[in-house]
């Protein structure tokens, strides 16, 4: 399977002169790892639920054996001395980490155009972006190179590229997946997420990495149910090795019963928030959402009009809070401890400034400065403190809707399909790509993007949002949508 992944990557042109999906890969090392996995399988040893499955990983998640550069010149050539908990869990479940994927530098962007190593292109139309910031991970899955890839979310960076590339992208509840080993961008928002070919692949991937981790103080010890419909009726894996079993912490010993049938949503109430269907929404996206809502109805769900009145404030809130946290988190990249150093021969402060100005790209520089500004004396109350308060109101809106008996909220994932490389140059216009996704990050709730059809030949996604730690219902509705649309989801 590893060679099949690399063969597919070569065939489709995943290299830097074409789709530009991978930043780092080592076929020989991956093949060796696969051979060792084959021995485990032959010996009926503890093989895990991802035994032999090749997985691509966004380049801001620390991996042993492959560099971790966050697609930034300032970390060029950097290899982490330790591994992210999510990666350790993938390996414990038998996955093979085959490549690190391209991304917007330090996950700051919505198109992967901010990568220091060039943009990733959309496998459905190479003139278009793959979305971002996890564009390489979404493109790897869409191109059929790996069935599952890890990405990271701060404001929609898994769901938006998944929608642009016609695959499934899930952001779990804040605290569901350990952030240990994820290079910090905005710590109160960051979460590792999963891209999959199908809802079942995404469920499998999330189930493999979720659960409590003592190395992340914001990690939750809530049980992780089995999310997969495909696990129905299958016996639990046997002959587990206690060492790898320890990495599967968080799995509920008595999983919640999976939904009995992907084709029924009887008794499920789905909210349609008016703020996510503005008059300015691309009418083609709107039509696809209406079709999806019709399918929900035909499966027995009730569709209820709801309101999330403070959601239109989410972009200003996000672009104050995330840069503020980034300005602090990225202070560590100073030419002393990591990667690049530019020694101008004028002393320490001058070295810091030269290293950071040459190491960071324009968007990262812009956000560090924006964050420093909103945290600086005289502006802290007006911007940062205010944004924290409005974030509370946005989270309250979600709480109110879910407390009113709504099980899931349905919205478009993005206001438009993928745009052409270079089409958006205004920073704020680019930020508006996150308008439907960023609220879930601010509220800390889980959300998934599922393909719902095509607009002008390009994929579009529908988003399902549920309450804190209710990934179970999120997957239930996602499975139903996928089953209800069938092949129409991709045309």
């Amino acid at each position: 399977m590893v060679h099949a992944s690399f063969d597919r990557a070569r065939k489709i042109g995943a290299g830097p002169d074409a789709l530009n999906i991978f930043l780092h890969a080592d076929e020989d090392a991956s093949a060796e790892e696969a051979a060792s996995m084959a021995e485990r399988i032959q010996g009926a040893a503890d093989i895990g639920i991802l035994a032999g499955v090749p997985v691509a990983v966004k380049d801001n998640i620390a991996t042993l054996g492959l560099p971790t550069t966050c697609a930034s010149k300032i970390l060029a050539g950097y290899s982490s001395p330790f591994e992210a908990t999510a990666i350790t869990r993938l390996r414990a479940n038998g996955a093979l980490i085959v490549a690190k994927t391209n991304m917007d530098e330090f996950a700051m962007g919505s198109s992967t155009e901010n990568s220091a190593f060039g943009p990733t292109r959309n496998p459905h139309d190479v003139r278009c972006v793959a979305g971002g910031s996890s564009g390489g991970s979404a493109a790897a899955v869409a191109a059929g190179i790996t069935p599952i890839a890890l990405g990271s979310e701060t404001g929609g960076s898994v769901r938006q590229p998944a929608a642009f590339c016609g695959v499934v992208g899930v952001k779990p509840t804040y605290g569901r997946v350990s952030r240990y080993g994820l290079v910090a961008f905005a710590s109160s928002l960051d979460q590792i997420g999963v891209v999959g070919r199908t809802v079942d692949d995404a469920a499998l991937g999330l189930e493999s990495i979720a659960g409590f981790d003592k190395m992340d103080s914001t990690s939750s010890d809530a049980d992780v149910p089995i999310y997969r419909l495909s696990a129905l009726g299958k016996p639990a894996p046997k002959a587990r090795n206690p060492d790898t079993e320890a990495m599967r912490i968080g799995r509920s010993p008595v999983p919640l019963p999976p939904p009995p049938d992907a084709n029924t949503l009887a008794g499920v109430v789905i909210g349609k928030p008016k703020e996510y269907f503005p008059e300015t929404l691309d009418p083609n996206i709107s039509e696809l959402c209406d079709r999806a809502l019709d399918r929900f109805r035909s499966m027995g769900a009730t569709i209820r009009d709801v309101s999330l009145p403070r959601s239109p404030l989410a972009i200003p809130v996000y672009y104050i809070l995330a840069p503020a946290e980034a300005s602090s988190n990225l202070a560590r990249f100073d030419g002393v401890r990591y990667g690049l150093r530019v020694d101008s021969g004028k002393g320490l402060k001058s070295m810091y400034e030269a290293t950071r100005s040459q190491g960071f790209g324009p968007e990262v520089t812009r956000r560090i400065l924006l964050g420093t500004y909103v945290l600086s004396a005289g502006y802290y109350d007006a911007y940062y403190k205010k944004a924290q308060a409005v974030r509370t109101l946005i989270a309250d809106d979600f709480r109110a809707v879910f407390n009113s008996g709504v099980h899931a909220i349905f919205t478009p994932t993005t206001p438009t399909p993928a745009f052409q490389v270079g089409a958006i140059s205004d920073p704020y216009e680019m930020y508006l790509n996150d308008i439907f996704t960023v609220t879930a990050n601010l509220a800390g709730v889980p959300a998934i993007s599922v393909p719902i059809g095509r607009v002008r030949g390009l994929p579009a996604g529908g988003q399902i949002i549920t309450g804190h730690f209710d990934e179970y219902n999120m997957f239930r509705v996602a499975y139903a949508l996928e089953a209800g649309l069938g092949a129409e989801a991709h045309r």
Partner: protein
Amino acid sequence: MAVTREDVLHIADLARLGVDSARADELTRELSAILAHMEVLSQVDTNQVTLTAGVGAGGTPLRPDDREPPLMEGVLESFAPAMRDGFFIVPRLSTHEDPAEAGA
């Protein structure tokens, strides 16, 4: 609230980012344009609102301060050019004296 060129140079200094004159002008325009979109927040009444610094269910849990060291791929010494007394000796700046010689 429009950002001035002096603001940009000041925050660039705080953030330890070298910004040349032409880039300072660009950043002044860009940051002013972005912050203009944030003004909408000033219209929201938040007097009675508790600030949200994080969204973990039940807040960040407390735990004993006994974190174990991370599992490293190799011994600590393999990640730096040199060590002394348990500390990394990082590559010296051209304007600084050699720490190895200074400590000799």
